[in-house]
Symmetry: C2
Subunit: 344 residues, 2 copies
């Protein structure tokens, strides 16, 4: 079984974008914000939005299930205010829940959080609980920089975030650390801001005792962990110079990396350096890189090919990467898959 732990609903019907445009216009104008429940998209439109893209690619690539969350670049927590973010998150999460309801064997929902710059993270708990308890979501995406490239929030290891972590731990849902679009001209979103955030979060975790306070808290660092596995020696050495425990002991019970690395040498390094128990299969299709690599003739983001070809992984390791780790890191996933008829 192959579980892709990182997919976004990048192909949502245009009506969603139109609703968002209206919402932001209403915010600017100071008029009443539109109701998320008033977003009218029928099931046929939802089916059409994934049949020719994510579902087709799942079939072609032999991926059984995708953990499916709202489009990351569109979260844009820096726009509007707390109410705007709450309405937008609800609209996006509800739509993702519906897609997952239409295709329960193919998609399992992961939610966007209604973060807003300067707003305490505990204000996201109600939406997280709604998604998990009422709609069966199994995880969330946590934005370490709701400012969109200005990094004005405290580090993820600050007590500022603790109430949300308490809720995550109680609900047994992990978070993927995932920024959104960048409104800082220095940072290209998918070419810099995403990878920088991954690297930044890892170093924050390394320097802190967060997981002593939250032994059950789990984070997936996407995009292959940003720069981290490539610089694993640097991080081992920094931890050592800082008199921190070895990285395995310090972090690897709580921090995981996905496989969104779009060439064979990168995947080979990831699987050589990071223990197989800490790598979760992912492609982020249809996402940041959509073209076909002329060097291989296959899509850059067809990461299954790289994992299959990776000699650093034995059969047992590959099984961990493909499904074992996902079932462990997302404790609610197994029941959801069994309910959909999967044998796990």
């Amino acid at each position: 079984m192959i579980i892709d732990c990182h997919g976004h609903y990048t192909t949502a019907p245009k009506a969603l974008e139109a609703w968002r445009t209206d919402q932001l216009a209403a915010f600017e104008a100071g008029t009443p914000l539109p109701d998320p429940d008033a977003l009218a998209i029928d099931d046929d439109a939802l089916r059409a939005s994934v049949e020719g893209s994510q579902l087709r690619l799942q079939r072609e690539r032999g991926i059984d299930v995708t953990l499916f969350s709202p489009r990351a670049s569109a979260m844009a927590h820096h726009l509007g205010d707390e109410r705007v973010s709450a309405g937008w998150s609800r609209a996006c999460n509800d739509l993702v829940a519906r897609v997952c309801g239409l295709y329960p064997r193919n998609f399992v929902p992961v939610c966007q959080l209604p973060q807003s710059p300067g707003v305490p993270p505990e204000r996201c708990i109600a939406e997280l609980e709604r998604c998990v308890d009422e709609l069966g979501f199994v995880g969330c995406n946590l934005n370490p920089d709701p400012s969109g490239g200005h990094w004005r929030e405290p580090p993820l290891t600050d007590r500022w975030w603790y109430p949300l972590y308490e809720a995550m731990q109680a609900l047994q849902v992990p978070a993927m650390v995932h920024v959104s679009s960048s409104c800082n001209a220095c940072f290209h979103a998918t070419g810099a801001h995403y990878l920088n955030a991954d690297t930044t979060a890892f170093m924050q975790f390394l320097a802190s005792d967060l997981f002593r306070d939250f032994p059950g808290l789990r984070f997936i660092i996407p995009h292959g962990g940003g720069a981290v596995p490539y610089h694993w020696g640097r991080y081992r050495g920094l931890a050592q110079d800082m008199n921190r425990p070895p990285l395995g002991e310090l972090l690897l019970g709580n921090v995981f990396f996905d496989t969104c690395v779009y060439h064979q040498p990168g995947i080979d390094l990831l699987c050589k350096v990071i223990p197989p128990a800490n790598v979760l299969f992912a492609s982020e299709m249809v996402g940041a890189v959509r073209g076909i690599d002329p060097e291989t003739g296959f899509h850059y983001d067809d990461t299954r090919r790289y994992i299959d070809a990776c000699t650093a992984l034995g059969d047992a390791g590959r099984a961990q990467v493909y499904h074992g780790n996902a079932l462990r890191v997302f404790p609610r996933l197994g029941a959801r898959l069994r309910a959909a008829g999967h044998a796990v």
Copy 2:
């Protein structure tokens, strides 16, 4: 011959730090700033500051020459103002020039620029010209984020930077893209800010036509290029999706990566993915990571061992990495080495 293109004067006598403390105190108090020429450190103190550290490690590791610049983390362009940065840069550059004068076979100087947040980069040209024309410097370190982690300057590809690039091109000196310490609590300096800046700068170059405007401009991206080689497939794919030329054609005549990657798998990936003509040997010793790797029994930053053991490099490629590329990317380096008695 082995040229280390990335070394900082991290072991300067305490008198330098004391001068800086006085300078910042004077700035805060609004009293006259101390004179860089009043910094009294005799030659014996300079010798003592490198004999047991950089020089010893050069000998032990078989490194012939280090391109030597002021301590990157101490540049702290975000402190004080333009005058403060000018005085501090002059003090640091003069000291580096003296060390290089004492050991002309071992060290060749690279300068710090007197950048300051919001101050046009052309105001650095006078110090760059002084260093190159009067003191024989062969390159400079350019900070893409003088704010120290807030990223308030325009991208490196903005015309804001062009006057400095005209000077660099005219003087035939390349720049290493190198941030300084971080005053943003989100970013650990050597564990996040440095690598993020490397990744950020590369993506800025990818998205621009900077090198059409400056065909003779050259940048070294340190720390193995941040996240870039690990995500080389992502960058090839992003360029393709953006209808940019292939990366080789677009960037590799002007952008180079150093080898400050502190474990064998990282160096192996770098040398497999990036053409040997674009990789410059470097260790950044004595720098960010100072310990001994218990897995190898050698210093993490003893990068020569990784390059020697890297099977992706043939003899010709290794010669390029060790000295050929440095002599090409730093056009003024050859004459300086010949004057010091090296056969190049």
